[in-house]
C-alpha cells in the first residue's frame, strides 16, 4: 500500500513536470515573440517591464528561459497577468480555481450517483420501461453537442421559464450594498459543504462501529437533521441571501454538466452489474436469505462499482474538458473561462498558469480516484 502510493506519487511528479514543460513550449510555439508580448504590452509601465524581463530571463536564450520558468512554476511565480494587470497570475487563479472545483465536483458527484443508481436499477430489472427511457435519453444527451445543449438549457430554464439566472456567478443587483465580497461568501459556503461531508461521514462511521444490527434509519435522520440545520444557520448570519444567489447561479451549469455525462456511468454500471449478477457470490447472497435490496446493493452493485470507479478517471477528464465549454457558455468565472479569455486576449502568463493548474487539478483527481479504488478493492489494498 505505502509502496503503491510512493510509486504513484513518483509518477505524478513526472507527469507534472511534463505538463509544465508542455505548457511552456506550447506558449513558445505561438506565433509572435514571447518576450515581445511582455515588452510591447502598453498596459505595463516601462519600469515594471524591465523587472519582468529580468525575472523571467526574457533576454536570455530559450533553454535558460525554460529553466527559469521551471523554477518560477515550482515557487508558484507565474508572473503578472496582462489582462488583470497588476494582479499576479497566481492570485487570479487562486480566486477562480475553487469555483471550478465546486462546479465540477458537484456535477461529477451528482452525475456519478445518478448514473450508478440508474444503471443498477435497469440491470436489476431488465426490459422495463425505465431501461428504454434511461438508455435512450442518456445516450442522446451523451452524444449531444455540448455548447448547443447548454444553450438549449439556458433557453428553456432561464428565458422561457425564467426559473434560473442566465449565467454568471452572481446577480449584481442583489449584491449592491453587501458588506462582504463574493469570494468571502463563497469560501464560507465551501467550508460549510466540507464540514457537512465530514459530519455525514463520521455519523455513518459511528453508526457502523456501534455494533447493533438495527441502527436502521437513525444515522440517516441525523444526517438529514444536519442538512436542515445548514440553511437555518445561514439564514441567521445575514448573508444567507447572498449565498442563495450564488447557489441559484450554480444550478443550471451543474444540471447541464450532469445531464451530458451521467449516461456514461449509467451504461457502464449496467454492463458491469449484468456481469456481477451472474457471479456465484450473488447467488450465495440470495441463498443466504438476504433481502433483495441487500443482495443488489451490498453484493452485486458493490462489486459492479469497481470497474466504474476505474472509468471515473476518464469521465473526470471528460468533465474537465466540458467545464471549459460550460464555463464559457454560462459565463461562470472559473479556471476554464479564465483560460478561454486569456487565450483570446493573448494573456500568455495567465494561459500558462491556467494550463498548469488545470493539469495539476486533473492529476490530483486522478490520484484521488486511484486511492479510492485501492480503498474499495481489498485485493489491491492488501498486496
Amino acid at each position: 500500500m505505502t509502496n503503491y502510493l510512493l510509486r504513484r506519487s513518483g509518477q505524478m511528479v513526472l507527469t507534472l513536470f511534463l505538463i509544465v514543460t508542455l505548457a511552456f513550449f506550447l506558449v513558445q510555439a505561438q506565433p509572435g515573440d514571447y518576450a515581445a508580448f511582455y515588452s510591447l504590452n502598453p498596459d505595463i509601465p516601462a519600469e515594471a517591464r524591465e523587472q519582468i524581463k529580468a525575472s523571467f530571463g526574457l533576454d536570455k536564450p530559450l533553454w535558460q528561459q525554460y529553466l527559469i520558468h521551471m523554477k518560477n512554476t515550482l515557487t508558484g511565480n507565474f508572473g503578472v497577468s496582462f489582462g488583470h494587470y497588476p494582479r499576479p497570475v497566481i492570485e487570479v487563479l487562486a480566486e477562480r480555481l475553487p469555483r471550478t472545483i465546486v462546479l465540477f465536483l458537484s456535477a461529477t458527484a451528482v452525475s456519478f450517483y445518478l448514473g450508478f443508481f440508474l444503471g443498477k436499477a435497469i440491470a436489476w430489472r431488465r426490459g422495463g420501461v425505465l431501461e428504454y427511457a434511461a438508455t435512450i435519453s442518456g445516450a442522446t444527451l451523451f452524444t449531444a453537442f455540448t455548447p448547443a445543449f447548454a444553450l438549449m438549457m439556458i433557453w428553456i430554464f432561464a428565458f422561457k421559464l425564467g426559473w434560473l439566472p442566465v449565467g454568471k456567478f452572481l446577480d449584481p443587483l442583489i449584491w449592491r450594498g453587501a458588506e462582504v465580497t463574493a469570494n468571502h461568501v463563497f469560501s464560507y459556503m465551501l467550508a460549510t459543504a466540507a464540514a457537512f461531508v465530514v459530519f455525514a461521514f463520521l455519523t455513518l462511521l459511528v453508526a457502523r462501529k456501534s455494533g447493533r444490527f438495527a441502527t436502521g434509519r437513525l444515522p440517516f435522520l441525523i444526517i438529514a437533521a444536519g442538512a436542515v440545520a445548514i440553511p437555518v444557520a445561514w439564514a441567521f448570519t445575514g448573508i444567507g441571501y447572498l449565498a442563495l444567489d450564488i447557489l441559484r447561479h450554480m444550478i443550471l451549469p451543474i444540471a447541464t454538466l450532469t445531464l451530458i455525462s451521467f449516461a456514461g456511468t449509467m451504461l457502464l454500471t449496467r454492463n458491469s452489474m449484468l456481469e456481477t449478477m451472474r457471479e456465484d457470490y450473488v447467488m450465495a447472497a440470495r441463498a443466504k436469505g438476504l433481502p433483495e435490496k441487500v443482495v443488489r446493493d451490498r453484493h452485486a452493485a458493490r462489486n459492479a462499482l469497481l470497474p466504474v470507479i476505474t472509468s471515473l478517471v476518464y469521465s473526470l477528464i471528460f468533465a474537465i474538458d466540458g467545464s471549459v465549454i460550460i464555463e464559457g457558455v454560462f459565463s461562470w468565472p472559473g479556471t476554464g473561462m479564465t483560460l478561454l479569455q486569456a487565450v483570446r486576449s493573448e494573456d500568455l502568463p495567465l494561459v500558462m498558469g491556467a494550463m498548469v493548474f488545470i493539469g495539476l487539478f486533473s492529476l490530483l483527481a486522478h490520484v484521488i480516484v486511484d486511492v479510492l479504488y485501492v480503498y474499495l478493492d481489498p485485493r489491491i489494498r492488501y498486496q
Binding site: 456465484d280 447467488m283 436469505g289 433481502p291 441487500v294 474499495l376 485485493r379
Partner: protein, 334 residues
C-alpha cells in the same frame, strides 16, 4: 438404515418435482417427476453424469432459479410445509434458516470485497439469530472452530484464503443458522485429493453431530460410499434409481447405474470421476422416446424404445427399468 422422524414424517419430502428452462431451442426439461424423501440425520447422495440435472434439483429445493427456470409441477415439503407456493418474502426467511447450501463453485461463493467472517455474520443478522454483532461474531468463531479454521481468520478477505480454507469457510457459513437440511453441491471438486478427503470427513462429522439432513451431490462414487446413507441416480433429468447406498453400489438394478459402476474400478479404492461411459447423455430438448437411456443400453428391447419404464422394486430400492438387474421382487406401473 432408512430413518424417519419420531412423528413418522420425513424431514424433507420431494414429490413429482419438474423444472424446465425456457431457451431459444425450446423448453429444456432439466428435472422431470423427481420424488424422494430425506430423514432427519440422514444423508442422501445424488449422482449422475454432468448435465443430468443434479444442481437443478438443488436449486429447486432452495427455490433459487434463474430467470428462465419454470417449475412445472411438484411439491417440496420441509417438515410438512410446501416451499413452492410460498411468497418471495416467506421463502427468503426460510432459506438458510431451515435449508442451507454449500455451493458447487465454493471458490466463488465468497464475495471478494468483504471479510469472510462478515459474510457469515450477514446471514446470522438477516435471520435475527443473534442480537448484536459481538454475539454474532462469537457464533462465527464457534463455527470456524467446528470446521477446523482458526477463528482469527474471520477478519481476513477471501483472496487471503487457500482453496481448502475457503471451502471450510463456506461450510461454516452454511451452518450459521442451524439449518435442518444442508445441500452440498460437489463441495470438494476444486480441491486436491487429500484436502478433499479431510473436508469430506469433517462435513460428515458435523452433519452427524448436528443431526442435519444432508443432500450430497457428486460425481465421486467414493464420496458417495463414504458419506451417504441412501443414493439416487439421475439420468437426463430423471431419478432412475434410488436405494440404500450399500445396496445400490453393490447390486445396482438400473443398467445405467451398473454402467457407472463398471466404469469405476473399485468402490473403496482410488477415486475417479463418473462419466467415462461410452456414448453421450441425450440432448434434453430432443429426448429419445421411452426410456431415455435406451440408445446406450445393452439390454434395450422394443418396449424400452416405446414406453417409459415402470418402477421395479426390491426392498427399499427401486429402479425405473423394464429389465432390472440383480433380481427385482415385483414390478409395478408408476
Amino acid at each position: 438404515m432408512t430413518m424417519t422422524t419420531a412423528d413418522n414424517q420425513p424431514l424433507l419430502k420431494v414429490v413429482d418435482l419438474s423444472l424446465s428452462y425456457l431457451t431459444r431451442q425450446g423448453p429444456v426439461p432439466a428435472v422431470q417427476s423427481v420424488s424422494f424423501e430425506l430423514g432427519r440425520g440422514q444423508s442422501l447422495g445424488l449422482v449422475g453424469e454432468s448435465g443430468c440435472g443434479k444442481t437443478s434439483v438443488a436449486n429447486c429445493l432452495m427455490r433459487l432459479l434463474p430467470d428462465n427456470g419454470r417449475l412445472t409441477s411438484g411439491q417440496v415439503l420441509l417438515e410438512g410445509q410446501d416451499l413452492l407456493p410460498m411468497s418471495e418474502e416467506e421463502i427468503r426467511r426460510f432459506r438458510w434458516r431451515r435449508m442451507a447450501m454449500v455451493f458447487q463453485a465454493a471458490m466463488n461463493a465468497l464475495d471478494p470485497v468483504y471479510r469472510v467472517g462478515q459474510q457469515v455474520v450477514e446471514a446470522i443478522e438477516a435471520h435475527g439469530i443473534e442480537e448484536t454483532t459481538a454475539q454474532a461474531r462469537q457464533r462465527v468463531a464457534r463455527l470456524f472452530r467446528m470446521v477446523g479454521l482458526d477463528p482469527q481468520l474471520m477478519d481476513r478477505y477471501p483472496h487471503e484464503f487457500s482453496g481448502g480454507m475457503r471451502q471450510r469457510a463456506v461450510i461454516a457459513m452454511a451452518l450459521a443458522c442451524d439449518p435442518a437440511v444442508i445441500i452440498s453441491d460437489e463441495p470438494t471438486t476444486a480441491l486436491d485429493v487429500i484436502v478433499q478427503d479431510r473436508i469430506l470427513r469433517e462435513l460428515k462429522g458435523v452433519q452427524r453431530e448436528l443431526s442435519m439432513g444432508m443432500i450430497y451431490i457428486t460425481h465421486d462414487i467414493g464420496a458417495v460410499a463414504e458419506v451417504t446413507d441412501r443414493v439416487g441416480v439421475m439420468y437426463a433429468g430423471r431419478l432412475v434409481e434410488l436405494g440404500d447406498t450399500v445396496d445400490v453400489l453393490h447390486a445396482p438394478m438400473h443398467p445405467y447405474t451398473a454402467a457407472l459402476m463398471s466404469s469405476f474400478p473399485s468402490i473403496s479404492g482410488e477415486k475417479k470421476a463418473l462419466g467415462t461411459l461410452p456414448g453421450e447423455p441425450p440432448n434434453l430438448v430432443n429426448l429419445p422416446t421411452g426410456c431415455p437411456f435406451h440408445p446406450r443400453c445393452a439390454h434395450a428391447t422394443e418396449e424400452c424404445r416405446r414406453e417409459f419404464p415402470p418402477q421395479a422394486q426390491r426392498g427399499s430400492q427401486w429402479a425405473a427399468c423394464w429389465h432390472p438387474l440383480n433380481g427385482a421382487q415385483e414390478s409395478e406401473q408408476s
